[in-house]
């Protein structure tokens, strides 16, 4: 771990300004991701601004019937919140499927969104990695890439975004609220928070220097049933190989509304407009679900160990849709 200085943020704007003021400064919230990476010297901030004590721990109703979730709300509190459990059950399911109880107690909402990839080559300073050292190459290509991306990846990087929570929020059309170092606030749809790697895998999100996430807002719950399904190598405490966040509303046997997002398959939480398009106004049933799954994965590429994920994702999608519409 590199030597670093530390300050405890006194206010939102001050926090943002403090990080903006120094090129190698970072926010630290729960620290469950950042500290591990600092010990490995994958992250090398020279200054930490601790935002964990800022008054961003509340979950509040919004006037339109949605929820406003403070950036520092711990994952476990969010999962346990009665409003979340009844109105956004897929979000609660996603959170509870992630990490371990101890980590969820510590992990913050914003930190979860901005956690970094678990690509083992990224986490190993001795290996080439374009995300860590631009231009050095991608060791995962041609290496052990069983947990890597099949959608949205690039020549430069095939890493996946590991979050479960973010996948659920993506299906829910969440919006991310931030504060800029000059004190201005801004809001962006969650789909615009993360970037695809392209030629610049080291740039992972669209936040400006020092821009701090203050909250995530959820619009009123979409009509229909919700489900988060996570497929993984052991029963708990494992990252998703494939996950599905789905919301489906069926009326008179037809699909009125569908939202599909996938995790474990792409460099960002993957909302599938293709799958949603294939479901819109179709008869609820296996044929539509198979078509949706094929549409969702039509651009998928899997070279090496990861190839199995394409079929696995299709199965997961079909099954999730079927489980959501038991009586059709």
């Amino acid at each position: 771990m590199r030597p670093f200085t530390y300050e405890r943020a006194t206010g939102l704007r001050e926090a943002a300004a403090a990080v903006a003021a120094r090129p190698d400064a970072k926010f630290i919230a729960g620290g469950t991701n950042l500290l591990d990476l600092m010990k490995l010297e994958i992250e090398r901030p020279t200054h930490l601004v601790d935002i964990s004590r800022l008054p961003l721990r509340r979950i509040e109703e919004t006037s339109d019937g949605g929820l406003h979730i403070g950036a520092q709300v711990p994952n476990s509190d969010l999962a346990a919140d009665a409003r979340v459990r009844t109105r956004y059950p897929l979000l609660s399911q996603a959170l509870l499927s992630g990490a371990s109880a101890q980590l969820r107690n510590k992990a913050s909402t914003a930190g979860n969104l901005l956690q970094r990839t678990r690509c083992p080559y990224f986490q190993d300073a001795g290996m080439p990695c374009n995300k860590r050292v631009p231009g050095s190459g991608c060791a995962a290509r041609g290496g052990y890439n069983r947990a890597h991306a099949i959608l949205g990846a690039s020549e430069a990087c095939i890493a996946v975004h590991p979050s479960d929570m973010a996948v659920a929020m993506t299906a829910l059309d969440a919006r991310v609220e931030t504060i800029l170092p000059d004190g201005r606030a801004r809001t962006l749809p969650i789909g615009e928070l993360h970037r695809l790697p392209g030629d610049t895998p080291h740039l992972e999100n669209n936040l400006a220097a020092g821009e701090m996430i203050t909250a995530v807002t959820l619009p009123p719950p979409p009509p229909g049933r919700q489900l988060y399904r996570k497929i993984r190598d052991r029963a708990s405490y494992a990252f998703a190989l494939v996950s599905v966040a789905a919301v489906v509303e069926v009326a008179s046997g037809r699909i009125r509304n569908a939202r599909i997002a996938m995790g474990g398959v792409a460099p960002k939480p993957w909302r599938s407009a293709e799958a949603e398009g294939a479901l819109a106004d179709r008869a609820a049933g296996d044929r539509s679900y198979a078509a949706a799954a094929d549409a969702a994965l039509s651009d998928a590429r899997g070279d090496g160990h990861v190839a199995f994920k394409i079929e696995l994702a299709k199965r997961a999608l079909r099954r999730s849709l079927a489980d959501l519409t038991p009586d059709r």
Partner: protein, 758 residues
Amino acid sequence: MTSDPIVQATAGAAPGARIGQPVDRIDGILKVTGRATYGYEHRIGRAPAHGCILGASIARGRILEIDVREAERAPGVILVMTHRNAPDQPEFGAAVTATVPEVFTRARPVLASERVRYHDEPVALVVAESFEEARHAARLIRLRYETEPGAFDPVAPDAEIYRPGRTNAGFPTDSEHGDFEGAFSVAPVQIDASYRTPFESHNPMEPHAAIAEWEGDRLTVHTATQTVANIQAGLASTLRVPPENIRIVSPFIGGGFGAKLILHPETICAALAARVLNRPVKVALTRQQMFANAGHRPAMRQRVRLGADRDGRLTAIGHEVLASTARFEEFAEQSAVPTRALYAAPNRRTTHRLIRLDTNRGEWMRAPGEASGLLALECAIDELAERLGLDPIALRIRNEPERDPELGVPFSSRNLVACMRVGAERFGWRDRPLRPGSRREGRWLIGYGMAAAIRGNYLGPGSARVAIDAAGQVTVQADMTDIGTGTYTILAQVAAERLGVPLDAIRVMLGDSRLPRTAGSGGSWGATSSATAVHNACLALRQRIATAAASHAASPLRGSNAIEAHFADGALRLGARSESLERLLARIAPEGLAAEGSAVRGETYRTYSQHAFGAHFAEVAVDIDSGEARLRRMLGVFAAGRILNPKTARSQLIGGMVWGVGAALMEETVLDRRHGHFVNHDLAEYHVPVHADIPDVDVMFVPEEDDKGNPLGAKGIGELGNCGAGAAVANAVYNATGVRVRDFPITLDKIFPGLAAG
């Protein structure tokens, strides 16, 4: 300095706690209250400096340049040690096979040359005032290497295969009885199946750690080891110091599983740096470093061929093992050895071959031989049962041998059949789905599987000392270790029973090279060997007490016949007279009395085939779409001689069975075939079962006493639990799905392609 670790049962301990009782661990309170001190935690007189190892970022080649200037200038740094300034050490020397004792005691120099033999091999040690400073400075070292092409594919088709001289633990490399090829080729029913088992890593919870302190030419090392004597001897060879000048202290160990049998780099680094600095130095491996530097189970390809008649009688049994080893030091896991004793068949062949890789050496990982070998053999037997349309238990019973099928000697005791029968009854085996893939509950396919367990029973020579003082306090001493298994407790039980005193009168001191030497904890022999030594020491002490009581002028029992001594309830009865030990000793031996006893291998070690046996039963559920395989419940029934403490024994066996679940379903250390490094080198990426993976595990014992192995009638159990356990789970996955995966671990990507999308 906590150099005299003493573990004593609390006064409330069950007074009648004897051998065979489920006594709570006497070190339990110390552990749960944080007072049990582990290797890295000992407080010693002078504040130690902290070392951090830097590992090579190549797997094979030479260091061309190493620039430590920036590291040396970093805050807190006291020493940067590399091959250029490390104290002179003996050569590593030519490859030693695992069969000779030198493998345990040889010099293992570190930072000794510019050669790199495996990825993450230490290339520098930074010592600083704090661990953080040392770790940071280590990253400031600049290295330039000349990389040489290495071999990293354990199953490369073009690899050079060779035959080791012996296997680990000294078994013959090959065995051949009758005409295997001939019998197999004409067998009416044949199974010819190849199984792949991966590299696996022990991952004890406590990483390898050491604190070294020199006083003049005498060295004290606080560390975590399974076998104190190995570390002492290994350090003596490496440092060129007489062993008697080295003291090893290792009272509590956070798991070993075979990874803590020999010297590893952290201990040597600590000792070298402490000598250079004339200051205590502590060094631990990081979790990531453990994957390359603390041993692994070799990767293997195993071919099993079974020939049988239509009734299921085996006519030919063949087991050929091809395993990885290190280029610089051999380790040949004896994976075909259990096949030599498990089933009868007139024609047999077992072989072991190796492929040299540029990795670190493999090491003894819980049940070396059986853990990997039975994954193959016991799945193949299941395949044969299915081919024959026979119940897997019936098939095994049909091939139950009368005597050891290869050694020709009788078994000291063998209750495999009883284990299978008892287990079948308790588990509800008769309800198993007869046709694979035929039982479905919701989204889950349900399957049952079983497998046999066998594990060689060994005795490691050693001794123990038992003393009693004038207050009636008994002290048991040995350099034996308790690696979390319960050794402190069972030794107290043995002494309490043999001396007829309550458990809380016993103190146990272990894990110190100043104490009588034992063979330590390894090969499941720790309990039986050290308990035998304690048993014999108690007998000798009884003799001494009784003789003194019968003859000492001040003895109230004077004149009695010492032969009729009876020790019970804290008193000695000689003939008709009785006296409490306390009062007696105060009179006849105010200084106390002590005696030593030893464990030695008797004639029966050769004239009987000695094994513990068991039967595993598993029920799994496999997701119909994704292929996710999850254990639902598991039962292990074991015949392992006399059970010294059913509670600690049960824990050992459950732990072993959980290892079996891991081996079957998730454990794999992935070797990158380009860079030669273990890719998934942390506990987020190397999966072991977590609680949610182990819903229900039950253990039963079939009563057994075996007087051939040791006077206690006990057998080793530390490894028995993971012998065959993985195969039971794998067979259950097959029974659930009809998909036979022969490539371990059985992860979902290997299952679901065989499942019709549902």
